[in-house]
Assembly symmetry: C4
Homo-oligomer: 234 residues x 4
């Protein structure tokens, strides 16, 4: 009894289309996916298709083993990274990968993006982590799956909760972001790019500037995300 994936594909299509509209991707680079937790499948961009030619029906449905469930095209070559994260983290419903310029520059520089101001602290109370460079064993193995493992392990080692950070830089590669919805994952990619750009400029102006002090970080993070948050509408 085949179920209808039309709505899932359309959500995924819209999220993917937001990437070039936000200036985050060039050519066929990047991909967004959306999960259906009830059916244990996710929708993802097909591999190597230009965004301007993408149609909702081109979106590929795959299961958590990265096998195609529905669709005529090959799914993104990063599909196994997405699958790995959906399996490891039960509370996320969307993932985005881009090669946006400033986030990639920090990933290539192999550096965490430090909290330097409240724009960052409004979203996270911690530095945006950058993984280490992948080992030759992982590169030579199931590479895209290992990229997912690397992301999960990086957060675990740094004792960071994926519900709180929602973004990471894979060293020498680029950013992955996620969220409780695909829209939130796209939002996070846009925000990461701007935080990466602000941090870059800040350190060019004053290389000696310290990380923002903890009390100010906590204040901004909690006014948006704490139990007593008072930012936004109820």
């Amino acid at each position: 009894m085949k179920k209808d994936f039309k709505s899932l594909k359309e959500t995924c299509f819209r999220s993917n289309r937001m990437l070039p509209e936000s200036g985050l991707v060039l050519h066929t680079f990047g991909n967004a996916s959306v999960v259906d937790r009830e059916r244990n499948v996710f929708a993802i961009k097909p591999s190597g298709i230009a965004y301007e030619k993408l149609k909702p029906e081109d979106i590929v449905i795959v299961n958590f083993e990265s096998e195609v469930v529905e669709g005529n095209l090959n799914p993104s070559s990063d599909t196994r990274t997405h699958a790995c994260l959906y399996k490891a983290w039960k509370e996320i419903d969307g993932i985005v990968h881009t090669h946006s310029t400033y986030a990639v520059a920090w990933a290539q520089a192999q550096k965490d993006i430090p909290v330097l101001g409240t724009t960052h602290a409004d979203h996270m109370a911690i530095d945006i982590p950058c993984t280490g460079i992948m080992s030759d064993e992982m590169i030579g193995g199931d590479y895209e799956h290992e990229t997912g493992i690397q992301i999960v392990e990086c957060l675990r080692k740094k004792r960071l909760a994926y519900q709180e950070i929602e973004m990471i830089l894979v060293a020498g590669h680029g950013p992955f972001t996620w969220g409780t919805t695909a829209d939130k994952a796209v939002y996070n990619s846009i925000m990461l790019e701007e935080l990466a750009r602000m941090a870059y400029l800040t350190l060019q102006i004053n290389p000696e500037v310290p990380r923002l002090k903890e009390s100010l970080i906590r204040k901004h993070y909690h006014r948006k995300h704490g139990e007593k948050a008072y930012y936004g509408q109820k």
Copy 2:
């Protein structure tokens, strides 16, 4: 006897909409307000609402104690900062807060923007001040009100007149600008962002360049703002 705030809301709406059109804000960041000095209320953007979805009727009217006078939505979380400035400075009618990229970079770098050229001197004869980082007491207290206090005190200590400088960087946070009208406050935010960008590039090209000499600063400032100003139309 309830009065009509329609015109005040529309002015405030238009000022807020100018922020994304000028490239100064991302997502829901930033806010513009407009005061009605006769009724001692001001109109301000609701908290956490995206600019492209904002409607004139969403604008919130609050009094100088930051209590909602009219409106169904929560006002901006920065409302008490605006209230503090309107109470302290009788000659301003509009305030704008953004997280524009270059101004934030200088605020995060915790540095004043020096007068390096006539583009700056056409607007102000002084460096654009950056406050210190807020004390833990202020952060732990009525934070947004204290931000206003911090701004007022910074100008007072540096013996700067708010009628002449019309912009400030809050350290680790970002810019606030104001003016005799909301339009002027928006203009000042746009100008600040460009001055921040020019000063950044100048110091990258020549880190040793001195502040512009005082006679040239005075000449440019006074041809636009002095008693014998001859810039513009009468």
Copy 3:
């Protein structure tokens, strides 16, 4: 016997409108003028008028003493600088002044823009000169006229022909460009901004890079401008 300045005003209007369209000016900054050599007058932007509100009939006609010949608005506050250049240099018919970002950064950095590549050499075989900072006497005198004198003297001292360089940076202020037509002056402002940006990036990547070697500079300049030029159409 009053003559018709309609055509001169329209040419001047079009040149001024090209400045915001090319991203060279913010707000009311900058101005373009066009000369009528037969009548010894030039058309120039009115002072402090926003480009988007500018109409052809707003353009002001002034003579070489900077006196208004026709028009209801005050001419640009930089009018006497334009007049000075038109009087000194008989072979130019258009002048443009902007506060474009990268050109201003070099002017504020008080540095000549060196010839680092063929994009520059295609236009000029020499560095783009930056004047010294104006003396207090000149600032305190007829400032805008003195700015023109400063430009003319800077070229004279460096033994540069205004027919060959067509652009200059006024230290601590910004760029002026000129040309045999107003269109050429606008073209030069666009080109200067791009050369300023390229030189900035080049020196960020490699601060030690030498000036382009003379034989290559000469080759590119002469293939476009020499007697045996073979670039373009006849």
Copy 4:
């Protein structure tokens, strides 16, 4: 017996129009060409014509000796460089030359662009080479032909295959790209500009960052280009 070059001209026209649409060229700068291998001719942009005024019938057809076969305008002054490359490299069908900002900055800085991340490695497993500065003999000789010779020799000395690198920086000048089609050559120019920008930012953030490790470069290059490539659709 005159043959019809209509289709060749239209392909060349479209490729040239993509350059300003992609933000790679200013004014009349840059040029794209497309070869017809059966007839040993290629279509190229006319010299010094603005892109917005360019029409398909303006495109010039030349043979491999750079002689005009059809067309009323002078071909690009870089025609002999294109001819040299088409003769030397039998497997390319399109060539693009631009003065795009970041690629020119690296060319002017006279530095290879190192492989710093997977965005680069997805396209090439090697640094993007920058030639040396041309000798006075070559500059004084048949300059545009010698530019072609310089490009071919640079790849030969570095033992690089033109089928694998598809782009080069000519020192002090700017980028040339090529490909098996004109579209691919344009794609390569866009990609080169983004790689140049990413590498610039990376080294500003961390001047000490090493080249990406070889195993990771190889992995990304081969998943898109190797015999077992699995990126894209079949």
